[in-house]
Subunit: 314 residues, 2 copies
């Protein structure tokens, strides 16, 4: 039997999993992410945790295919990160460093790209080879898969669809420095922004209270039939649906998989996206599926494992 590790490095915790090559998970665990001192302990901590499991399971190094890793930053094909605000990293040769620390092969990918791979492998996109995953969390991440392979791109910025400009008239600035990015409307914080703007000039009665707004309270109110909340959801849905219609003519996917915290709203969220999508989309791209991500927090470790398994299979 061959094994591999899937590692999902986040700003607070590092999620880790030990997998059989067949995809079976033997164990999942987490360690703390030490972001102090430019995050210099993160990779040594990961290496030490892997070493511990190798011993605990009495694994022979030659039976370990490698370590797949997702990180919150653009990653080049050579496994280099040019900076990650969440981890404190500046320029870091992640692949090289982790391989030296562990003596194992490592494959590094952007966290959103890796999550997309996980959802394609055993989640909401299982069975498809051309898919676009959109992760609606604090920000908006994306992963574009063509023929079963994630598009990494020339600068590791493939699938950064949270930074598609969707509103040239926006006056507030996105985290990236530009204005009008998809992330400003379709992320958890974006939905709160839309809701606050709406409530500031709303006179109708609504369940929503502007001092206690979240993507969850908005979609809960939608489910309870609140008209104001429905209009906020429609605005969110238009920004996302129109953007996916534009993405469709670029890579022509079979399915869009929507994940991240906001997607916990469930099927109702997909309904708000499908309608504007169909309204705008090029005729050849009408026939596309919309699905919710199903792996939740495990998408990262699964996709990371798949990253190194794919490489092994080639």
């Amino acid at each position: 039997m061959k094994y591999c590790f899937g590692v999902d490095i986040g700003g607070t915790t590092v999620k880790m999993g030990l997998f059989e090559a067949t995809g079976e998970v033997l164990e999942k665990w987490e360690i703390k992410t030490h972001t102090e001192d430019e995050g210099k302990e993160i990779l040594p901590d990961v290496a030490a945790s892997i070493e511990e499991k190798v011993k605990a399971y009495k694994l022979a190094k030659e039976d370990i295919i490698g370590i797949g890793v997702g990180v919150p930053a653009p990653v080049t094909e050579a496994g280099i990160v040019h900076g990650s605000a969440n981890l404190g990293w500046k320029y870091k040769e992640v692949k090289k460093e982790l391989e030296e620390l562990t003596g194992l092969t490592a494959e590094i990918g952007n966290d959103a790209n890796v999550a997309a791979l996980g959802e394609m492998w055993k989640g909401g996109g299982a069975g498809y080879k051309n898919l676009v995953m959109v992760t609606l969390g604090t920000g908006v991440g994306g992963g574009v898969i063509v023929g079963g392979k994630v598009i990494i791109g020339s600068h590791g910025a493939g699938g950064e669809i949270g930074h598609l400009c969707v509103n040239p008239h926006e006056t507030e600035v996105c985290g990236c420095g530009k204005k009008g990015c998809l992330e400003q409307y379709a992320s958890a914080t974006g939905i709160v922004r839309l809701a606050k703007r709406k409530l500031a000039k709303e006179t109708r009665e609504t369940m929503l209270q502007s001092d206690n707004i979240s993507a969850k309270t908005v979609f809960d109110a939608v489910k309870a039939g609140d008209e104001v909340a429905k209009e906020i959801a429609s605005e969110f849905g238009k920004y996302l649906g129109y953007t996916l219609a534009n993405l469709a003519v670029v890579t022509d996917p079979s399915i869009f998989v929507i994940g991240g915290g906001v997607s916990k709203a469930g099927e109702v969220l997909l309904d708000y996206v499908r309608k504007p999508y169909q309204e705008r989309v090029f005729f050849a791209n009408r026939d596309v599926e919309f699905a919710l991500a199903t792996l939740g927090n495990d998408a990262g470790i699964c996709g990371a494992a798949k990253l190194v398994l794919d490489d092994f299979a080639e």
Copy 2:
């Protein structure tokens, strides 16, 4: 020595080329495209013309790798077209039909995708593996290449970037039935439309005459320093540059190659696109090249040949 044929089927003529496997062109020629009767003679005409050259060059069938073909329509991975307005075709199994007619392997691609492959192979994008080609002709076509492979997509609609919606407020309808497509602003006819709109309310003196406008007269006037023409070029450049900035975060190319009749304006056209691109683009995608296509009308036959050569190499 091995050989292959590159065939570029257009609405008026079929351009054809006989290539050595090394990429050397032995002969280029054209035949008329017979679009009458739902274009049923087009493939038999192509087959007969190939047969003629096989005899003339005394080629052994086993030395012919195959026939690559570009057609003006979305093409599925199986080489099927669901309709081409320009050729009169309805549903047609192009690959199967041409293989039966010739006894040779055939690979079929969308004409804009095939042209992109040609420019990557021996044109403006030579040396790059991640590129986006934009063809500015009567319409706007596109070809998106990742890792040296054209993105075909699930419905053969990959790279149909002429139908990205760039102006939701447009009132006129695009050929595709939607409103606000890139094609309505950045094609040869789109530029004429922008110019006429401008001239209708223009009071300043200008070289441009609204009864004799073309993309060429606009860019000629730009080169002569005409201020009105410069503003039209700026508007065109914004639509195209902003769109390319959005494309950049999807597939993260190294280079954009601009071809088609409009690109005959030359380097000045690239200047009008670069500026708005840099203004809007995500920081990770700033470092990208812009180049003009160099193969002109030969891009199609070259890319078509490359289509079948790539397949042979695998």
